[in-house]
Symmetry: C2
Subunit: 329 residues, 2 copies
């Protein structure tokens, strides 16, 4: 699998329409891992998949459903954006191990085992205590390994993440988070997690969501790229990538859904607070997909060689997707 300077964003959450598809295609991004579930149950996620299938029919000059890494290369050749389906939670499988294969057949390639809260599979990063991977979680990891659905621990708690890395027979991903040494948010990852991820062949996508950045929206491109350089020393140049966590075109009610789902009557502010509850302002050097090449420039400025810039910008995701999507070849 040749990387061919492919550009991949390992996580975006956008209220997609013709305009945002065009903007993304024109940005030079060749594939995006899109979120199709936060708290959705099985039938709700089917609705979301059906809506995406409508997008694929309607905007077939702009996007294509990417089921394999090869599909992403083909999307690039056709000047389209490959769309990789992912869940930020395991809620769509509900309590059924069999739903993993079914949803894989419908094109889902990445699933987080928990989203902030305790799930049936693992603990989320906002819980007080973390009991690791549950009995059902152990079965689910085996099944995800079998069918080739990537385990993503971006919003999971530390012990659960370490156990997922240990239990999974295939490398896992943290599609969108930063190291805690850069910014000590609950969502970011400790050196211990990064080392375990690195040793197991896993991959980290760096987030540009302000709550994950040092100095939030004021984080500089240089600081961001220095962080990447430092993280390469813990993982390796083949295991770091981008997962911008770009959220666009949504009103506040969507943020409330992401934070509170249906599990609480009272407001939960997640990474924000009662006084700072709105969507955060993007950093000036990454206002949206159109700025993706600023990151490549930043990487060059902090000393990355061209071959390594290409790895971070998409080459590493492409390789990871190639050996992770579908059964072991």
């Amino acid at each position: 699998m040749q990387a061919n300077n492919v550009i991949i964003d390992g996580l975006q959450y956008i209220n997609w329409d013709k305009k945002t598809f065009e903007k993304t295609r024109d940005s030079g991004i060749n594939a995006v891992h899109v979120t199709i579930a936060y708290w959705e149950n099985f039938s709700e996620v089917i609705d979301n998949i059906n809506q995406w299938n409508q997008h694929f029919r309607e905007f077939d000059d702009l996007i294509v459903h990417a089921l394999t890494a090869e599909d992403i290369l083909e999307a690039k050749r056709q000047n389209k954006v490959g769309i990789v389906f992912g869940f930020q939670n395991c809620s769509p499988i509900e309590d059924s191990i069999a739903n993993i294969e079914t949803l894989h057949k419908l094109g889902v390639r990445i699933m987080q085992l928990s989203y902030n809260n305790q799930s049936l599979l693992a603990t989320g990063c906002y819980e007080d205590k973390d009991s690791g991977i549950t009995r059902f979680g152990k079965q689910a990891i085996k099944e995800m390994n079998r069918v080739g659905m990537v385990i993503d621990m971006s919003h999971s708690a530390e012990q659960s993440t370490l156990e997922a890395i240990e239990l999974s027979e295939r490398p896992i991903a943290i599609t969108h988070a930063n190291p805690s040494f850069f910014h000590d948010a609950l969502r970011n990852k400790s050196d211990k997690v990064l080392r375990a991820l690195g040793d197991s062949g896993g991959i980290l996508g760096f987030s540009m969501y302000p709550f994950h950045l040092k100095n939030g929206s004021n984080c500089t491109l240089d600081e961001f790229c220095q962080m990447i350089a430092k993280t390469v020393d813990i993982l390796s140049i083949d295991q770091v990538a981008l997962g911008s966590d770009l959220c666009e075109n949504w009103d506040y009610s969507k943020l409330e859904w992401m934070r509170s789902g249906r599990w609480t009557f009272s407001a939960d502010y997640g990474e924000g607070s009662a006084k700072n509850k709105e969507w955060p302002k993007q950093p000036s050097w990454f206002k949206g997909a159109e700025d993706i090449f600023n990151v490549a420039d930043g990487l060059r400025k902090v000393g990355f060689k061209e071959v390594d810039v290409n790895k971070v910008m998409g080459g590493n995701w492409l390789k990871f997707f190639d050996y992770s999507f579908g059964p072991v070849r």
Copy 2:
């Protein structure tokens, strides 16, 4: 609320039909807490409720839906069995706090926060680690307290049980389990849990399911009643009752459902084992509802006064239900 020698079984799981309703009514039992969910989701539990409503129409000379303690007394006066709806798991509320009130309106009065496995609310007794009550669990306890749905921790793990007792502003129940000092099964409860339950005004229903008994199916009535006497010293004579866990009229496939739900492709044997996987044989002195008064005789033989026998046989449940079902009066 006068106890009136009412007889209440705090947990049965029976494949109900005319014959079993008649047998129960003729046994002298005035009310039964019946299980209408193990792993069922919301819509599946609605099907079960609809089926019960059909039973209530069809067998209105034998049974009645009991929503209050008063309904149980009225059932006794009419020589019918009051049926109290309960869930052994929180699966029917799915991920929605609002479903608690909705299901209470449909007559559900008791809900376990977890069944053997980790749930969205609490840890089950068969998990390796127990992280206690989750973020969603804390909200759910508040809501159950508000609407008057009893928190039942029969199949929950120790730390989760202690936290539920602590967090709940109303006394909780362990509808069907025995003390670990009697038989050290994962499902039974430590002295620490029993003391916390007692101090908080909670109640314990003693199980006659062989896996919870010393010497299993060979446990004697005297041993069982001595255990009750010893437990009275930890809780109090007003906080002990019966929760027979009588399972009747089911084939093995139902036991597989109870144990494995949809969460594993491989067989899980729960309290049994690969070599001992079938429904266990009931003890000779409690083969079914028809033997319920054997327990009263056994209690007298180990020295219980008549007034205390009445409390254990149903008076305590009646009082507990009276102040637990519905909003605080």
